[in-house]
């Protein structure tokens, strides 16, 4: 499941992360607080447009993984009109994890900053998903996850 969220110039980097957190977790929930606690880390990745090159991937405790990309520049205005809420918010229940894309120039800084936020990790924007076990409902003997497919738009 994937979603696109309009970013700069339609929204500032902070407003973009606020829109993403609104998609993922209900207001005043523990999940929302956890997402808000990494605002000043996520916005660096949004400003650098890493989240346009590769998705933010959310692995809920149950249910399908969610991929979120940000849309920048001239396409952002149209993306905003086409934003669709998720049917269920994957960070509403505890146990979710998240993978954030990051360029090699920034990855050590961001990895260090995320040490205080277990379950939210960073991966090289050019690589596939490197964190998290499959959600329990996804664990099926004889199946594997196509990480390359997760990177597709």
């Amino acid at each position: 499941m994937s979603r696109a969220v309009a970013a700069i110039p339609v929204r500032t980097s902070v407003e973009t992360w606020e829109a993403i957190t609104g998609l993922l977790a209900p207001a005043d929930s523990a999940g929302r607080s956890r997402l808000e606690s990494v605002t000043n880390i996520a916005v660096v990745l949004i400003t650098a447009e890493y989240t346009q090159q590769a998705p933010i991937v959310v692995m809920p405790s149950n249910g399908p993984r969610i991929r979120i990309r940000t849309v920048h520049g001239v396409d952002a205005e149209e993306a905003r009109t086409e934003e669709v809420p998720l049917t269920a918010r994957p960070c509403a229940d505890p146990g979710w994890t998240m993978s954030l894309p990051c360029g090699v120039d920034d990855i050590e800084e961001i990895r260090d900053a995320l040490r205080a936020h277990p379950g939210i990790e960073v991966r090289d924007v050019t690589e596939g998903i490197t964190v998290g076990e499959p959600a329990p409902s996804d664990v099926t003997e004889g199946w594997s996850i196509n990480y390359g497919e997760l990177e597709n738009p």
Binding site: P9, V10, T12, V44, A48
Partner: protein, 172 residues
Amino acid sequence: MNTAVRVNTTTYAVTHIATNMLGSIRAIIKGSGLNPDRIREQWDVLERGFAAWLASGHLKTTTLEVYDPRKRGDNLVGRFDFTIDYGYYPGGDGDLWLDPDTVAYTIRKNGSFPAGCEYRIVADCAPGYPEVPGWAATTYRSTTGFTRHTVGTAIGGGSLGAGLAYYTRSEK
């Protein structure tokens, strides 16, 4: 990173310049060998201030001040200004652009700062600016003994432009 897009609203120009000015300041910090943790940890406050004061037309300059806390008295060691020109492109047609080469050139010309140097970000606003939580009044460090070098416009959007300049010590 995009270098040019076209949209038609002043709001988008404000957002584009506010966020990319912050991104450019962070690039200077990292490229000059300074620790980027501080700007990242203050990002939300800084961006809200930039956007609010660009939108109200009060923001004149945003400055990265680099100083050596081990020195007494005037401890400025470097400074970078993004000066806002509200009439940079009269009747601007909506182009939004960022020139990372201008920032990269500035980083190369300025060089790195010694270990242990710290920094802060200052916004110079015209009187009557709206209050933004997290910001406090301050004064610039003295630039006596420094020479200002104008590089050129680094970010543009609508009628707005953000010109970059840096300071180097001109006397020992």
